[in-house]
Amino acid sequence: MNAVAEILHILRKDLVRARWLLMGFALLVSFSAWRSAVSRPWMPIEPCVRDCSTRVTTLDGILAVVVFAVALMVAASLVQSDSTQRFNSFWKLQPVRTTSVFGAKLASLLLTVVSVILLAQFAAAWAMGIYPSDAAHIILAYARFFVVCVACASVCAAITSNLRGFLLSAVAILVGTALFWIVWGAVRGDNAAPVPPTGTIFAASIATSVLLLFWLFRIRTPRGVARIAAMALTFTVIVGATYSDMISYSVNEFAQWGGPEVKRGKPADLSISAHRDGRALTVVLTSPAPAANHRLLLVDAVAQIVTPSGRAMPLSFTVNVPGKNNSPHVTKETFVVDSAVAPLLRAGTPAVITSGSPQPNFPSRREVVAFDNYVDAVSSNGVKTRTAILKLIAAVEMPDSVLQLLSTRGARITVSAFIEDQSLETLFTLPASPATHHLKWGTTVSIAKFAKPAIKGIELEAVTGESTRNPIFAGVADQVHEYEVTSYDSTYMFIPTVSDVQYSLTRNFSADTLHLMKWQLGIGAPAMVLPSALFTGTVVKLVPFGKVSDDEFSDWLKNGQLVLNIWEYSSHSLAHAESGVVQQNRT
């Protein structure tokens, strides 16, 4: 037999041997996923709903732990079915390559334990209505964490001969890890060392565990020193995994918190240059363009002037977006840019850097330099943003204190910020006529009416109603009533009122778009329709940006369709940029 045939031969044997165990495991995982799907609704739109956590029962919590523990025990059982510890294990007497036994173990772990868990996660995500992009992200993060755990469990199984030994070694490693962190915390205090990228730790963890497992099979009967070395390396892997932010949560656990809050993306490649021109400081922030249909937000930016001697002065980095700017490619009229969008995505949007904190009245807005390298590609159902390089340039007049510091030899500007990556998702489209559209997460959205000039626009009505079949919606309705629809914690339910939703009318035949904006908001009171069933209505009035003639708008309504796009959180990363020495321009 060749190596592949050998692996398949052993794999088949392992699957037949563990068939009842695997069936039981699959049932347990399915039950857990089913409970997640029916008992914890997933709110598909950010922001997350923390109140959902109250709906997690003790059983769900226990079930999540049990599923995880059983998965690791199934992994151990698969590895120990061809034990390395018994010197006279049956496989050691057969003419089989150790690499084949190792390969079969890896294959069985991936085919059974890992795939069963991940399939259940996908099923639960699908049942909960999680956006595929979110589901993929969560599940991949969870898979990464889970695979490392399975790999470490496999190593523990390989250095023990039975389940009892495996449990003892696993507990020993976990207790050791906990003790390590207690001691580490006492020694280091708050001076946490920098965390290497999760991907690096994941790759190192997997490589270490898999090579360790291979080595344990290769030496056939690991004893004494080999076992201690394997334990020590596994301990190191677990410490590394817990040190990074690799610990991730299953879809079920995410559901109880409402949404994926922290997804670390690829580090943003932010660069900065700065120069002086008299009293004006010009700062240029540059970032690579986001991917198509993505935008980057600069969040919590902290700008500083830093001198070589270590002196630093904060610069208040604020973005000022005037009410009107041109967006010639769409409306040929003024186009309001959401302030959150401005810094990087909409390069060319006026912005300002001021010194001091806070400094809203710094009189330098007229010094702002705007760039126009921003291009929108219009599509039938939304806006695709593609830019080669995104730049934000701000020039400010500096007060004396800043000037003095900047005059110091070797002064630089540093900017640290979180870069949030968002992707544009089309929520749904409606024909531009009074019609009804049903959304899957319990909200019905319809075009209520077309308003007449002079307040021309579209009235969009969202109605949420749910019966006792899913009690979460009753809670949501109460919440909406209590906090009003514009509050951050409740907007997820009423699509038309979510601040990140963009409205537009599109015309397929001409492939162009008319951007709309919210003009008016109305909230209906919760009403009892059936016992314990509530519904709440919300009306949003949408009007076009800028000046659109009645005829033109009527034409849009006749031939267009309403598109609701939403900026979906994709990931974020921490960016830090440092300019060269700030030079004085010679004019």
Partner: protein, 309 residues
């Protein structure tokens, strides 16, 4: 040609020496019996030969291959059956055969069928439900069906009734005769070994005291039965090759190792007052018991014949 060559082999469990400077050879096609008291190192030696233990000193080679570094191709030609060996007992016998057959290019399906019938094993029965005898028969079937060049057996007869033993012995003999399979067997069942073996090795406290053909052994070791006229020479110093003394009144029985034809003369010279001297070839059992008895006397610090004198 020698199938197995062992040179200066030593093995220790921690600080406890299990084998000490063991050297012997097994000719191809021989049926080599390893005998010795419990804890002598027989099982360890067989495990080393099977490639199950590799941290030993010295050399152990099977058909030229280092036993510590058997390749899968080497293992295709080795069968190993041991007391306490675990088969994958969740399988049915037919499943086990189907699992094993692809590993061995020489797997003989007709031989497997024949052995199954001879051993009266039910192929559809789960191995965990086999009796002890059936379990060992199944292990033997799996070891013989690939027609190995070397079959290593560690205490295969332990706890078996006479009928089962007979089946196993016949199975072994037919395997040995048919293919020239080299068999190394350890057992406490001296009677069975005597019937089977053509070579024998005696291990004691990890040392190989003797390794030779049964023919030589029988030629060399004599069972001596002496009746003395009086007590005068009863405790006389005897040569060290005379072992396993037993006395009853004025009658002495022992086993002597002697190569020449003058053994009887030697005994008579040593015991001139003997009224009767009878010599015959020692059986393996007598040889084994004599060795055991001598060892026991040493261990218990009982006076040997020499010391007593």
């Amino acid at each position: 040609m020698n199938a197995i060559v062992v040179e200066n082999l030593s093995f220790a469990f921690g600080k406890a020496e299990a084998l000490e400077d063991v050297s012997f050879t097994v000719p191809e096609g021989a049926l080599y019996a390893l005998i010795g008291p419990n804890g002598a190192g027989k099982s360890t030696l067989l495990q080393i030969l099977a490639g199950l233990r590799n941290n030993y000193k010295g050399r152990a080679r099977m058909f030229g291959s280092n036993c510590a570094k058997f390749t899968p191709q080497d293992r295709e030609h080795i069968g190993y059956v041991a007391e306490g060996q675990k088969l994958p007992d969740w399988m049915r016998l037919e499943q086990l055969e189907a699992y094993l057959a692809p590993w061995y290019p020489t797997w003989d399906f007709s031989l497997a069928n024949e052995l199954r019938e001879r051993f009266a094993l039910d192929a559809t029965q789960q191995i965990s439900k086999f009796s002890r005898g059936q379990y060992m028969k199944a292990a033997l079937l799996c070891a013989l069906a690939p027609r190995p060049k070397v079959l290593l057996m560690d205490e295969p007869f332990t706890g078996m009734d006479v009928g089962v033993k007979d089946e196993l012995v016949r199975g072994l003999l037919s395997a040995s005769a048919a293919d020239g399979c080299t068999i190394v067997l350890s057992s406490h069942d001296i009677a069975e070994i005597e019937m089977l073996a053509d070579h024998v090795g005696y291990l004691q406290s990890g040392k190989l005291r003797l390794s030779e053909s049964m023919e030589n052994l029988r030629e060399r070791f004599k069972h001596v039965d002496v009746v003395l006229a009086d007590d005068a020479l009863l405790t006389r110093v005897t040569p060290t090759e005379w072992i396993g003394f037993e006395r009853a009144d004025r009658r002495i029985q022992f086993v002597m190792a002697h190569d020449g034809d003058d053994a009887e003369q030697l005994v008579k010279t040593h015991y001139p007052n003997a009224t009767r001297v009878e010599l015959r070839q020692a059986t393996l059992r007598e040889f084994f018991l004599a060795q055991q008895r001598t060892q026991l006397q040493v261990r218990n610090s009982l006076p040997t014949m020499e010391q007593a004198s």
